[in-house]
Symmetry: C2
Subunit: 156 residues, 2 copies
C-alpha cells in the first residue's frame, strides 16, 4: 500500500464530506448487480447525483436492467480502489417519461442521452448505505450513511 493508504484514519465528518465530494466530482461509477441463478454482473456507467439519488442509464435489454428488475439491490463504487465511496442502493429501471427534465438534461451533459438513444433506459439508485475508505487502515469507521440516513455518530 502507498499514498492515500497512509496517514491517520479520517473521522466521520471528514468522510461524510468525502462522500459528497465523490458524488459531485465524478460522473462514472462501477455498478454491480445480480439475480438468483446468475453470477454477478459489473459494468462502468455514467451517472449524475441530484442530492438524493443517482441517475444512470444502460440498454433496456441488458443483463444489468434484467438483474435490477429481478433484484433491486445493487452495489456501486465511485473513485479508485485506493480511495473510494461504496454505495449499497435500491435500484429501479425508469422510463424516459419518469425522469425529471433537469436530471435528464444533466445526464445528457455527461453521457449519451437516453432520450435520443433507441433501446436505452434510465436507472435510478437510492442509496441506503454509504461507506468511505482509503485502504485497510480505514476499514473501521467507514460507514457514513445507514438505512438512507446520513450518520451523526460512528457505528463501526
Amino acid at each position: 500500500m502507498s499514498g492515500p493508504a497512509d496517514g491517520e484514519p479520517r473521522g466521520l465528518a471528514e468522510r461524510r464530506e468525502a462522500a459528497l465530494e465523490h458524488l459531485a466530482s465524478s460522473h462514472q461509477l462501477w455498478l454491480a448487480t445480480a439475480s438468483d441463478g446468475h453470477g454477478p454482473h459489473l459494468i462502468p456507467v455514467s451517472y449524475v447525483w441530484d442530492g438524493t439519488s443517482l441517475t444512470t442509464a444502460t440498454f433496456a435489454r441488458s443483463r444489468t436492467s434484467a438483474n435490477i428488475r429481478s433484484c433491486g439491490l445493487v452495489r456501486a463504487a465511485i473513485g479508485s480502489t485506493g480511495d473510494l465511496l461504496m454505495i449499497d442502493a435500491v435500484a429501479s429501471v425508469r422510463a424516459v417519461t419518469e425522469i425529471d427534465a433537469a436530471v435528464a438534461d444533466a445526464y445528457a451533459r455527461v453521457a449519451s442521452d437516453p432520450r435520443s438513444v433507441p433501446g436505452f433506459t434510465y436507472i435510478q439508485l437510492l442509496p441506503q448505505r454509504m461507506q468511505v475508505w482509503r485502504g485497510a487502515h480505514e476499514f473501521t469507521g467507514r460507514t457514513v450513511m445507514l438505512e438512507g440516513d446520513w450518520l451523526a455518530q460512528t457505528v463501526d
Copy 2:
C-alpha cells in the same frame, strides 16, 4: 465522453496486448460476487497475475468468500471506467497451503500477506472471458478471451 473514448477502435491484437498490460501493470481490481438470495457484492482487492490465474485474498468470513463458496462465478474489473479489462472468471477459495510459494511471495509484495494475517484466505480466479474497451465506441470487438482461450479472431 472524452480522452480515451475518442479515436479509432482498436483491433483484436492490440486489445489482447492491452489485456496483458492491464493484468501485469496493476495490482488492484474490483471484484463482484453474488449468491442466490443476496444482492451483489463488490470490493476492491489486491491481486497478482501469474500468466494463468489471478490470486487475491480477503477475510475467510467475508461476504465475498461466502459468495464464492456458494457461486464460483465472479466478475472482475481492472483499470478505470474509461479504459478497462473486464474478466468473467471461475473463482475458488484457497487455503494458504494450496498456494504456490512464488505466487504467495509475489502477493506479499503488493498487499498484506495472508500467511501472517489471521482470518485471511486466498482466492484464485481463472479467467473464462476477458473484454477490453475504452467507452461505447469500442463495444464491438471487445472480447479477447472466450471459454478460457485467447481469441485469434474477433467474435463480436
